[in-house]
């Protein structure tokens, strides 16, 4: 599975800079886990961060303060050599072993639980099931399951919508999207995804502003979906 649709480089810059919301981060990280090309780009974006950090012209601290911080640092060098293993605790997911096909991508587990089988899908419209993550920072994070061969309403966005395909596939004006692919869209994109026949399309999406559906469907669907 080599992804053909990637994160926008602007998104990778923000990921490296720590400028994405936790929800956007979770979706971007799900793509990054699947995509070597984007990980290479991310490494480059972090190099830019390193250079900018090194380039800063730091103001001189006053000598007394500087001396105190230096002494404090030297003292801590001694104390800390024994306790080096702290902080390197591995991320624990006790109930899923690595490579278990039931395991959700690691970045999504904090929001949706560790496994596919424990997901509790909610019906929102014919052929559409959804789980909305609770405890978000203000952005919306959704798991969506859309029945095969279904046409979604045409919609556009007020802000950014970042989607990662987990299972199944869909097509829209931008191309064919299958597992591993990311759709990194902004408010200039209007699209109408149609899911591929066969299996339902499951994707995870983060958005920083409500979706906009045009026309009558909007009035019908928007309150229903609660977006």
């Amino acid at each position: 599975m080599t992804p053909r649709h990637h994160l926008n480089e602007a998104t990778l810059v923000s990921f490296a800079a720590g400028a994405l919301s936790p929800e956007m981060t979770a979706v971007a990280a799900t793509h990054l886990e699947a995509c070597r090309d984007c990980r290479d780009n991310l490494a480059h974006a972090e190099r830019i961060g390193g250079l900018l950090l090194g380039q800063q012209q730091a103001a001189e601290l006053d000598a007394a303060k500087r001396g105190r911080l230096r002494r404090e640092m030297l003292d801590r060098l001694d104390e800390s050599t024994q306790s080096r293993h702290d902080g390197t605790i591995q991320a624990r997911s006790p109930d899923v072993s690595p490579g278990d096909p039931d395991g959700l991508p690691q970045p999504l587990r904090a929001y949706f639980g560790p496994t596919w089988s424990a997901l509790r899908w909610r019906w929102v419209a014919p052929g559409v099931h959804m789980i909305r993550a609770a405890h978000t920072s203000g952005d919306t994070l959704l798991l969506l399951k859309i029945a095969p061969g279904k046409s979604m309403p045409v919609h556009s966005h007020q802000g950014t919508e970042l989607t990662q395909i987990l299972q199944g596939a869909y097509d829209d004006a931008l191309g064919h999207f299958s597992p591993g692919d990311a759709a990194d869209l902004d408010n200039e994109t209007e699209h109408q995804p149609i899911t591929a026949p066969g299996a339902p399309c499951i994707c995870v999406a983060a958005m920083d502003a409500p979706l906009r559906f045009p026309g009558w469907l909007a009035r019908k669907l928007q309150p229903l979906v609660g977006l």
């Binding site: 810059v13 720590g18 070597r36 490494a43 972090e46 230096r70 902080g87």
Partner: protein
Amino acid sequence: MSSIETHAKDAGYWAGQMVAVSCTRDRDSFMRIYDHFAPRVQLYLKGLGSPEAVAEELTQEALLRLWQRAELYDAARSGLSTWLFRIARNLHIDRVRREPQWVPVQDALERLDEPEDAGPSPAESYAEHVDLRNRIEQLPATQARLIRMSYFEAKSHQEIADELGMPLGTVKSCLRRAFLRLQLGVRRGA
């Protein structure tokens, strides 16, 4: 102000100091790194919105981590300033923004590309370093501004758009162009 030339020598010089720390736990080398980088890390953390005292404490912690995890440092994989950038950024997001998911996600991503299967090493060679630094200095003003707002203020695309009165799509395409400009000739070049 130091010239580009001096800056670039720095990159190799600091990697060398760090190798001394990681191989022989050389305290003098470490303190040279500390004296040079601590004020820069502190400025970075203050820029992200930490009060002076917090920035000072996290800076000490970031440098201490450099010492504690020195044996994990791989000069072929990343320059010292990149490593330090990641440590400081991660500390800020974990401690100040209190996003508990950030660090495990970073650790998991890092484990995916262990050095042995990393392919052509993205080493920050002397030439690469000069090249990237030149490119940063030559960015058009708007691109440079958006890059700084992203890295030094951790502003989202939408926040940048609101602050500068630019359309969101323009912010994204401008940042994208800046990234591509900085990437030319650096990536996969070696």
